[in-house]
């Protein structure tokens, strides 16, 4: 089907994402905004289950269940609407939004300039991504090689994953979660052939979603100017652009950043407003993150524990009723792959193969060296421009914000995850400096959006923006 098939795949993933999003109380626009990351998670999981059941991949087998599901969902909603109307009740078919409509205000010259920067970044990202095939080492030894293998084999095969030549180029790579390879493979299935250039549009969609989701979370409490400033800064971070437009495209770090952002954004909302759907949405994105990269597993564990502890502590039995479905969602995304990997032969040691109390204690002396290497990196302009410097200034200046639980939650999520990354360097069996040099910059991509969220909160508190005007998030 070629390029048409690729767009069909994109449409299908979005349809799946919107269908699942409808169960979480999202408005139509919110479902559209989060359709891609949700759809990528559920479609790739569907494909993995097909592999377990030995059902070969094909466009029909992947697509028809979602089309049928969406039709059934629409039919049910229409039936519910008419049933409620004939009973003389109020309309139940409402598009709820978090934002009250408001008279839109024209963009100022500075806001216009910021919007143009964001638009340029988005357009440049798209054009540069699809100009050339994949370039990054990890894409052609891990992510896209797996995608190609899954496409050729028409499923996830133990034979491929057990092959030490193909599957384990980087030690432990055969165990990595496989959302990205399956998603790319879906693109190949719909196209009918391998085209590692055009399929990179999937990563452009993640980049688009990163910026859209960030603005969505920040706008309710920030002025439009501040939201645009931070969004433009996020859009131009060199480390992010490396994966959004240059040779790093195809790595799983930017997709993971989107899931981390959405998880903490909805978690922030939960701490603010206490709504069950926000908790569940956070759990959903945490779970899909754990299905994207191994780093997502530690993030899922730490953030879900924090949120669950808060829910149970403040609501007791009602809190447990919120936590249980969240745990079910997490189990659904994490357990199948972990059990499957457990059945594969061990091909190599991994970064955490030497995890033991004695290793941790004896390697703690590495900590000063690790910090000496990573801290200067954070303040390197051609990697992060002013991101971490601005984060440090705003965090220190706005230290009073820590009294707000939703802000403390964001900072805790960021620092706990960063601590896990540093912990891996403490226990790694690999040469330390090369390991840091080849991985740290990518790991920070996951945390950048959370840092920007923290900055937005501090900014608002420092300059006493108060309760920002609540306007339609997608209108100026």
């Amino acid at each position: 089907m070629g390029t048409f098939g690729l767009f069909l795949a994109i449409a299908l993933v979005n349809v799946a994402g919107m269908a699942i999003g409808s169960f979480f109380g999202l408005s139509f626009r919110e479902r559209l905004l989060f359709a891609w990351p949700i759809g990528a998670g559920v479609v790739s999981l569907q494909m993995f289950f097909y592999s377990l059941a030995s059902i070969p991949f094909s466009p029909a087998v992947i697509g028809w269940p979602w089309i049928g599901f969406t039709i059934a969902l629409l039919a049910w909603r229409i039936a519910a609407f008419f049933s409620n109307a004939t009973r003389g009740g109020a309309w139940s078919f409402t598009f709820s939004t978090r934002y009250a409509a408001s008279r839109s205000v024209a963009l100022s010259p500075l806001e216009t300039a910021l919007v143009l920067v964001i638009v340029f970044q988005v357009v440049f990202s798209l054009m540069n991504l699809v100009a050339l095939p994949v370039q990054g080492y990890d894409t052609w030894v891990i992510w896209f090689l797996k995608a190609k293998a899954f496409f050729i084999d028409s499923g996830v095969s133990a034979a491929f994953l057990s092959d030490p030549v193909y599957s384990n180029a980087n030690p432990g790579a055969y165990e990595y979660p496989i959302l990205v390879p399956l998603l790319v493979s879906a693109g190949y299935v719909f196209m009918g052939y391998v085209d590692d250039r055009l399929v990179k549009i999937f990563f452009w969609l993640y980049y688009l979603n990163l910026l859209g989701a960030f603005y969505y979370f920040v706008r309710p409490f920030s002025t439009r100017l501040v939201a645009l400033i931070l969004c433009a800064m996020l859009a131009t971070v060199p480390r992010i652009m490396e994966q959004a437009a240059f040779g790093g495209a195809g790595y799983a770090d930017m997709p993971l950043a989107v899931y981390f952002l959405a998880a903490t954004g909805f978690g922030f909302r939960f701490f603010q407003e206490g709504k069950k759907n926000d908790f569940l949405l956070s759990a959903l994105f945490l779970s899909i993150g754990a299905w994207t990269k191994s780093e997502g597993i530690t993030f899922l564990a730490s953030v879900l524990i924090i949120m669950s502890a808060y829910a149970v502590y403040t609501r007791r039995r009602e809190g447990i009723k919120i936590v249980i479905p969240a745990v079910v969602i997490a189990v659904l995304f994490v357990l199948p792959w972990r059990l499957y990997v457990h059945t594969l032969p061990k091909l190599s040691f991994t970064m955490v193969s030497e995890l033991s109390v004695s290793t941790v204690l004896s390697n703690m002396e590495r900590l000063p060296f690790i910090l000496k290497v990573i801290v200067p990196k954070l303040f390197t302009a051609n990697k992060y421009h002013i991101t971490w410097a601005l984060y440090a200034v705003l965090t220190l200046w706005g230290f009073r914000s820590f009294t707000r639980r939703e802000y403390a939650f964001l900072q805790a999520a960021l620092w706990i995850q960063l601590s896990f990354y540093i912990f891996v360097y403490v226990i790694t069996p690999f040469d330390l400096k090369p390991h840091i040099e080849t991985s740290f910059d990518r790991l920070t991509i996951h945390l950048l959006p959370i840092a920007f969220l923290c900055m937005a909160v501090c900014w608002k508190d420092i300059f006493a923006q108060g309760d920002a005007r609540r306007v339609e998030v997608l209108t100026p």
Partner: protein, 155 residues
């Protein structure tokens, strides 16, 4: 909306100005890189797919395609290499062929495989030596490498 005091508004304006100036200054490298890449785009977009692959992968792409064209998908082959990155690039194109990477050609391994592909830096002499081996039949030499069929005993 709560009303901000004038001094806070002025402070915020100064803060925004400083942040924007610092951002533009610090982001100069990425802006420059993007402009340079954007100017290259028309040339890159005008390339045909194979040419785009060569821009990224170099000669190993052409050699890998030669292996793909000279061996069936279910082939089993020894891959002689001296550069691990080039091996990894070749592997990306060779799947689903069964590949055994090797740093040296061992005759006792020949019976297990159908083909031998060699991609060596300055490998011309090595390819000639391999070609002189009566267990191997030269199928292709070019793009920096050579491909041999392995003759089975009794054939």
């Amino acid at each position: 909306m709560l009303k901000n005091s004038k001094s806070v508004q002025v402070a915020e304006r100064y803060f925004i100005a400083m942040a924007l100036i610092a951002w533009i200054a610090a982001g100069f490298t990425i802006f420059k890189r993007e402009i340079k890449a954007a100017l290259e785009l028309p040339r890159i977009l005008s390339l045909i797919p194979d040419e785009k692959k060569r821009v990224i992968d170099g000669q190993i792409y052409d050699f890998a395609q030669a292996v793909v064209n000279n061996t069936p998908p279910n082939a089993s082959l020894i891959f002689l290499y001296d550069n691990p990155n080039r091996l990894r690039k070749a592997l990306y194109y060779l799947y689903p062929r069964k590949v055994e990477p090797a740093l040296a050609a061992k005759r006792e391994e020949f019976d297990k495989h159908d083909y031998l592909a060699a991609y060596l830096v300055e490998g011309h002499d090595a390819y000639r030596a391999l070609g002189a081996d009566d267990a191997l039949e030269l199928l292709h030499e070019g793009h920096g490498g050579a491909i041999f069929g392995i003759k089975r005993r009794g054939r």
